[in-house]
């Protein structure tokens, strides 16, 4: 048997990497939402620190959207999402402090580490082709 071929298992390996990417983003989404519901944000009045929930519209507007093969979108559809994140000044002169739940989570959450662990698990499921 002098001649033989070696095939790179592209489809299965890519599939494993993409599955891990989707799962890592789902975990990130959980952390992002936790950041809205945790009492970690200082506020000029009591109670402080507090969460970012008033009527729950911001939290409930979260929309995670996988966009295969290699993108995943995290968005919040309320009109005032950016104002909450960056803070805002109002017509009557008063201001609302920033509650940057996205920036804070992205700084604190080890996305690469989570992806690495999930990718290892997915790759372990890849079997030799028949």
């Amino acid at each position: 048997m002098p001649d033989f071929e070696v095939h790179f298992n592209t489809v299965q390996l890519l599939g494993a990497a993409q599955a891990a990417f989707k799962d890592a983003n789902m975990l990130l989404g959980i952390e992002l939402q936790k950041s809205i519901t945790k009492n970690r944000w200082s506020w000029p009045n009591e109670p402080s620190p507090r969460d970012i929930i008033d009527k729950g519209q911001l939290r409930d507007s979260y929309s995670p959207t996988p966009m295969p093969p290699d993108m995943y979108e995290h968005s919040w559809g309320t009109e005032y999402a950016m104002a909450v994140h960056e803070g805002a000044v109002f017509k009557d002169g008063h201001s609302m402090p920033s509650r940057p739940w996205v920036s804070a989570t992205l700084r604190e959450y080890d996305f690469a580490g989570a992806y690495s662990k999930l990718a290892k698990l997915e790759l372990a499921k890849v079997k030799d082709p028949p």
Binding site: E79, Y80, M82, A83, G87, A88, D92, G93, S98, R107
Partner: protein, 124 residues
């Protein structure tokens, strides 16, 4: 760069675009609408207002071993009160002067009472 130094620099850079603060029903002028921190509650701004954060934001990034990089940024908020708007012109000038700045726009909302404004993070 301290917030006070940034205030001086921006006051010069945006001198022809800045609005003004007034107080009371007689609208007594209180100077150009630029300051570090929040203005007093009786101050009213017209035109373009610039608010500079009183303390830098700090982000510490671990590097190798015990080394880390502490990055400080100053926050500048440009707020447009009324028309005509100088927000875009002012933003362009600030970003040209501080090329490593990042910009986020917050669209105004009549319904929510939020003014058109731009937040600029300037590494200090």
């Amino acid at each position: 760069m301290t917030p006070a130094q940034l205030q001086v620099a921006l006051a010069a850079l945006l001198s022809d675009l800045l609005g003004e603060y007034t107080t009371g029903e007689q609208r007594i002028p209180r100077g150009p609408a630029i300051r570090v921190g929040e203005p007093p509650s009786d101050y009213r701004a017209t035109g373009l207002e610039v608010r500079i954060g009183g303390h830098p934001d700090m982000t510490n990034t671990p590097l190798y071993g015990t080394e880390s990089n502490l990055a400080e940024t100053l926050l500048v908020r440009l707020v447009q009160h009324g028309n005509p708007s100088n927000l875009t012109r002012a933003t362009r000038r600030v970003v040209r002067a501080y090329s490593d700045a990042s910009v986020t726009r917050i669209d105004g909302s009549e319904q929510l009472g939020i003014l058109d404004q731009v937040v600029i993070h300037i590494p200090s």
